[in-house]
Point group: C2
């Protein structure tokens, strides 16, 4: 799964060499890029991951509809090659500014807008089968982690268990981080920062010997990659905790099965053995939280019905959960557990769930 | 400025005692709360901070228009007292859920919505003159920091210079953190995470011996409090770097002078000696970035005109800057500097600005 920096550079260079060879032989310069549209996305039932099929499209410089995009692909590839050579990392927005310029002798710019350069990165990510972070293009950072883990990062040894209240800020790029020691029985990732802070303050991760992560909303690429690595490289169970609503379940589904947008990297960002711990709609009755639910809006109902139709939500337990939500017509936030007392989540709810392995698949 | 935990609890208890005394004497129970409306907010030219005036309003239980709010104020005060006694911290949302319940024998709830409980916290914050973090109610977390600083936090010693690429995640509550050693010549706070990552990767903070902060957008309370403490307690100059647009300048103004919403805590969240380093509209011509500007929208122009009218932007340099923006009709992002090369910001732009003390006041 892990490929070296040299390999990454070689893949980029190979793309360029192929084009150069064609030009030398006076053939039309073309590149082949896997198709990312819905028609080429499939759910791999065995691996439990969304993935791309085998379809590829050819981008040709001599096709007037494709020549601008071809030129942009070459510019971005070259930019990535330079980043790798100089060992610099940057953001998509900085790359856009760095590459935007007038094309000599014309009124055309290389890029008009960042919406032109972003998809090119995904093309190259797909064509070379590496993560954009391995091309040194970092994504937004969001999320924190605490636990009995020591990592090596840029020469520093960082102990996630010795960072006070703040925890370790999860970067976009986890490719250059190595784990020196990982002492944990499982990983618990929560959507909401407030729940993370509750568990951190109550020393839940110390008592339970687990690694505690908050995604602070939809999981950024860094959080997804971290869970993937902890699951695959350290064989740790991963439990996910979100609000009991369609948005929360979507967060879970992206962490576990991957997303359609990023189906080409599901094997590096997805965590198929993740389990859903809560909040569930059935928790609401069980813990007497009805008074603390929120009426489902039309959009919630629509979204829940969509989830029901996805092949990856076809498991019986999820169909029941989604049906229950549609029947009850309500949703609930993690914070609703605080109506039973602030420490209810760490002292009763979580220990019971984990002991009884009361998870959704 | 710093008050002890016992003092905080005493202030909350004093509020309760006052009410209890009135009830015992068969007087109407009332509390006095400083007025937070525009009429009571003033700009203190000498301290360079937005602050509240002396006006106070009385909230009475026996006034039918105020009795619900009075009841809520008592509930929240009591909740804070319990948090302090049990040494627990929580979020505003959790508090809302913890306090929401039916009032026995009526069809009324204590709170219908979080929009009812949030302002009560601000009332209590204002009435007791403590930060809500001192009442153990934490705000959202956002922002990261690196530098030659060692802090003590929950028994851990954390060295901000030894945290790899991630840096230290700035918590909401900085009240219980102490500085063990601070070795820096100044603090540089940037709006954009990408600029922070560039400077971190280029070891800018090591070379320049500075503390590097990113607010990741509008500065959260934790970031503002951190800058305030580094400035006041360690006498460090603070330089702010944002996009050259009205939103960026607003971020600066909140960090420096405080905000109208939180005028009652400006002395703890504001940093009056902060200076604005860039990006400025005049930088755009100086560095040939015209091609990388963005046309100002109507809302940008409107906002810039509003800023021009604020007393705290009345300084000549800011009036010129704002006029120049209105004249040119464009704005620019920090990332525009990348058009001059990715390392331009750390190797040329910043060193020149800092050496020449080319700041806006």
């Amino acid at each position: 799964m892990t490929i070296s920096k040299d390999d990454v550079r070689e893949r980029i260079e190979d793309m360029g060499h192929e084009v150069a060879e064609k030009i030398k032989k006076e053939k039309k310069p073309t590149i082949k890029i896997p198709v990312r549209s819905l028609s080429n996305i499939q759910f791999n039932e065995e691996d439990e991951l969304l993935e791309l099929g085998d379809k590829k499209s050819t981008r040709s410089f001599m096709n007037i509809n494709q020549s601008r995009k071809f030129m942009q692909t070459m510019l971005v590839s070259n930019f990535c090659k330079e980043l790798l050579e100089e060992d610099l990392h940057t953001s998509l927005r900085d790359m856009y500014y760095a590459l935007k310029r007038n094309i000599g002798g014309t009124s055309e710019n290389t890029f008009e807008d960042q919406s032109e350069s972003d998809p090119v990165i995904v093309d190259i990510e797909t064509a070379t089968d590496v993560l954009r972070e391995q091309l040194h293009l970092n994504a937004d950072v969001r999320g924190r982690v605490v636990g009995n883990v020591v990592i090596k990062d840029r020469g520093d040894e960082v102990n996630w268990g010795k960072l006070g209240s703040g925890g370790w800020s999860i970067p976009s790029n986890l490719e250059e981080i190595s784990f020196k020691s990982v002492d944990a029985d499982y990983v618990l990732a929560v959507e909401k920062n407030a729940a993370f802070e509750r568990m951190h303050e109550d020393k839940f991760w110390e008592d339970e010997n687990c690694i505690l992560v908050t995604s602070q909303g939809q999981a950024a690429r860094g959080v997804r990659r971290l869970l993937n690595r902890l699951s695959r490289e350290h064989n740790l169970p991963v439990y996910i905790m979100t609000d009991a609503d369609a948005y929360g379940w979507y967060i879970y589904s992206v962490i576990k099965w991957g997303s359609m947008n990023l189906a080409h990297v599901s094997n590096r960002l997805g965590t198929p053995n993740a389990k859903y711990l809560g909040l569930t709609i059935s928790d609401i009755e069980e813990y007497g939280l009805e008074k603390y639910t929120i009426k489902a809006k039309k959009s919630d109902v629509k979204r829940a019905k969509e989830l029901k139709d996805y092949p990856w939500f076809k498991k019986e337990e999820w169909q029941e959960e989604l049906d229950l939500m549609l029947e009850k017509g309500y949703k609930a936030e993690l914070e609703a557990l605080s109506s039973r007392g602030l420490k209810f989540i760490t002292e009763e709810y979580l220990p019971k769930k984990i002991e009884e392995k009361d998870f959704l698949p």
